[in-house]
């Protein structure tokens, strides 16, 4: 049993620095993101090298999430060609990065650190670092602002922000502006909070079962349950990030006014046969 005053687990809010290349510090979550990206690129290269129209078994398995997401995006709006690749790419990247954090060794194998002698893991799940999620959120933010400005012009975009009755503009303009900026914060914080909380949950469950280690099945079952929960939550958070990106882009493209274009069906998010 741990003595009074000692913490059960060690939680690091910031990603720990592993080494530095000149002035550039490499943290362990960067290593995690790099591994996820390399995995995705290797899978992409391998499965498109010999892809056929009648898919093999492995190919249909890989095509499953892509078809699912592409079905959702194309079922929502007819102008999907510009951003369906971004949405699918975001989904796959966050999915692989989250699931990578569940492998044994991630977060546990590491170096002995100088700060209080705590363990510095070699690999950390990429989304457990606010820098990674903020970077993805900035990409989304730039994309949907860029689409809005490209389609409506900069003046048109500001007019959208001002709201419909023009005399309400001094009130509506700050509200709309802040709500657009808060999308950046909410996207990054949601993913970071979920993955970070999942890490803490797994560490706590694994550390807490040392008291019942004599009941080995129970001690293995409880962390296993939470591992499955993290599997589900990692996938759901990836889906949510991608779908929110799609929703923001659709909202940015949507034409308001007396004659909205007939192709826009923003009211049917999610209808896919």
């Amino acid at each position: 049993m741990p003595e009074e005053g000692s913490k059960l687990i060690h939680v690091a809010l910031k990603a720990e620095r592993l080494f530095a290349i000149g002035p550039f510090e490499v943290t362990n979550s960067m290593v995690g993101a790099l591994i996820a990206a390399v995995l995705l690129l290797a899978a992409a290269w391998y499965f498109t090298r010999s892809s056929s129209l009648i898919p093999t078994r492995m190919q249909s398995v890989i095509e499953l999430p892509i078809e699912l997401l592409a079905g959702i995006v194309t079922g929502t709006t007819s102008r999907w060609r510009g951003y369906v690749a971004l949405v699918i790419g975001l989904f796959l990247m966050i999915l692989v990065a989250n699931w990578l954090g569940l492998l044994p060794g991630v977060g546990t194998i590491g170096l002995k650190g100088e700060v209080e002698g705590e363990l510095i893991p070699l690999v950390r799940p990429a989304a457990a670092d606010l820098n990674f999620t903020l970077g993805l959120a900035i990409v989304t933010f730039v994309v949907f602002v860029w689409w809005a400005i490209r389609l409506h012009g900069p003046v048109g975009y500001l007019k959208e922000l001002a709201g419909e009755p023009r005399y309400m503009a001094p009130l509506m303009f700050p509200i709309h502006l802040i709500s657009e900026l808060s999308r950046l914060v909410s996207l990054s914080m949601r993913l970071f909070g979920n993955v970070f909380a999942g890490e803490i949950l797994l560490a706590t469950m694994l550390a807490g079962t040392t008291a019942v280690i004599f009941l080995v099945p129970l001690a293995l079952f409880i962390p296993g349950m939470f591992l499955g929960l993290e599997l589900l939550f990692g996938a759901v958070q990836a889906l949510v990030f991608a779908l929110l990106t799609m929703a923001y882009i659709i909202l940015a493209i949507a034409e308001h006014g007396p004659n909205p274009s007939a192709e826009m069906d923003t009211g049917q998010l999610g209808s896919h046969a």
């Binding site: 914080m189 949601r190 909070g193 970070f196 949510v240 929110l244 998010l269 999610g270």
Partner: protein
């Protein structure tokens, strides 16, 4: 010690998303019960609403973690 108390008090804010998620889920279940074939159509907007509501609870959690560890 004070930061632990503050961290505990910060989690009172998770009451709101808890109630909201329960209400949202019950409405989704009601809708599926009325029209079982629409389960696929309801699923995607439901997951979206789920994540948006849960994010508020996550904000509370992040603040409390920051209070404990800094």
């Amino acid at each position: 010690m004070d930061s632990n108390l503050a961290a505990g008090l910060a989690m009172i804010g998770a009451i709101g998303p808890g109630i909201g998620l329960g209400i949202g889920f019950s409405k989704a279940m009601e809708a599926i019960g009325r029209n079982p074939e629409a389960a696929g159509t309801i699923f995607v907007p439901y997951i979206l609403g789920l994540a948006l509501t849960e994010a508020i609870g996550i904000y509370c959690f992040i603040i409390s973690i920051i209070l404990i560890f800094t």
